[in-house]
């Protein structure tokens, strides 16, 4: 009987080690960032607020300063790390961007905690690889919410501060429901507060929060704009079809819906706040197998069927929504926003070179614009 117990215990220990190793590897996977020619400094979010310093959400901030007068733009990648195109589009700016007018600040892992876990019971892949000419670059697949290992327990009802609005309990771990944050709040609220401090101290003029959305969600393929960004967003929305070859709508940020970046950053700082959404079939509830391939290709027969049944707010066919398409939409939309900003406010220009646009990303693939860490001297890890 002792031998039987030992065998069964050994079986349990093996499963524990295999599973535990997988979870540990995911949480501690180091993602390489090859600093491009335009990166002039890298600072920590904790430099702006002690309450986040040294924590898992003390993310890197990459600064691309042209040295020439102009505005300051902040790109937020990884607000929701289960939306990988938002992080990778920001990655392309850090590895390729060269500001010629104004200054750019980029966060690749705005909610780093959420990038270390996938949706519980969702059977998501823990990582994915972008193929390049020299091999591949592996990235963490993340979640919409901060890891329960870093923030727990959740309340029965999440009462947003300072509005007092009641939100779903789980959204107390949702980075894009915690703006403008609280200095003495949860780690997610403190991360938002730290970003607000940074936005105020660095006098950021324009914030773009990058996202992806399921096709069954009505806020998709669009720019959500704070009222002070409506003119800019409308301009960009009009220019994109002619200049870049794809459509992106424009929506107003609801004044009564609190916690979101497009509302609170605009209300609690001088910055204009915009949020970009690209389509990601991987997130749709009607999807089939949740695989790395599905994540990258955006091909899913069940989401296509949902589209034929009129259940979607964005088109989809057998070609899906490849991650190159989603990343290209984001890079082009950011570049077009900077160009439109400069036309509206020529005394505070923004100009960036070296970042591939929509057509280029599709033609050459995202991997073409990711550089080899093994042959680069300036490499950091997320």
């Amino acid at each position: 009987m002792l031998l039987r117990k030992l065998i069964i215990s050994a079986f349990g220990l093996t499963v524990l080690i295999l599973g535990g190793h997988s979870f540990y590897s995911h949480r501690h996977l180091k993602e390489a960032v090859v600093l491009g020619p335009g990166v002039t400094d890298v600072v920590k979010l904790g430099d702006y607020f002690d309450g986040i310093a040294g924590s898992i959400n003390d993310c890197n901030l990459y600064i691309l300063d042209s040295g020439n007068p102009g505005a300051t733009i902040l790109i937020l990648g990884g607000s929701h790390p289960e939306e990988p195109a938002s992080r990778l589009a920001a990655w392309l700016f850090v590895e390729n961007g060269l500001m010629t007018e104004g200054r750019m600040i980029v966060a690749l892992s705005a909610n780093r905690s959420a990038s270390t876990v996938t949706r519980l019971s969702g059977a998501y892949p823990s990582d994915f690889t972008i193929l390049t000419k020299w091999g591949g670059r592996k990235f963490r697949m993340g979640d919409r919410w901060s890891s329960p290992l870093d923030q727990w327990p959740d309340p029965e009802v999440y009462i947003h501060s300072p509005s007092g609005q009641e939100l779903a309990y789980v959204d107390i771990r949702n980075f894009n429901r915690c703006w403008p944050g609280r200095a003495n709040g949860t780690i997610t609220e403190r991360a938002c507060f730290a970003f607000m401090e940074m936005i105020r101290k660095e006098k950021v003029d324009l914030v773009i929060d990058l996202h992806e959305a399921e096709l069954q969600y009505p806020v998709i393929s669009t720019i959500v704009a704070h009222e002070r960004g409506e003119e800019l967003a409308t301009f960009v929305s009009m220019m994109l079809p002619d200049m870049e070859g794809f459509n992106m709508g424009m929506e107003f940020s609801p004044k009564a819906l609190h916690g979101l970046s497009h509302r609170e950053i605009g209300d609690f700082s001088d910055a204009v706040s915009l949020l970009f959404e690209a389509p990601e079939p991987f997130l749709d509830a009607t999807r089939g197998r949740t695989t790395r391939e599905q994540l990258l290709t955006g091909i899913d027969e069940f989401v296509v069927k949902a589209g034929k049944a009129g259940l979607l707010f964005e088109k989809i066919d057998e070609k899906g929504w490849h991650i190159d398409v989603r990343i290209g939409r984001h890079t082009s939309a950011i570049l077009q926003t900077m160009e439109s900003w400069t036309e509206i406010m020529p005394d505070r220009p923004l100009s960036c070179e070296g970042v591939p646009r929509y057509a280029e990303v599709i033609e050459n693939s995202t991997g073409h614009y990711l550089h080899n860490p093994a042959t680069s001297s300036k490499v950091l890890y997320e």
């Binding site: 039987r4 069964i8 499963v15 524990l16 599973g19 535990g20 949480r27 327990p153 709040g185």
Partner: protein, 54 residues
Amino acid sequence: MNLLTTVISICYYVFIAYVAILMIINLIRSRKWEQELLYVIVLLPFLLRLFRLK
């Protein structure tokens, strides 16, 4: 609030450790292989959480 969540978290981990120990004791005392296997399987998520792996 942070103090409260910290206290709750510590209590939670103590509780997990307590339940895990109970299950290990039951595993040792058990005389049926089906129960032993069940204890081992049920124990896994408790240990993953206790070791802060998931």
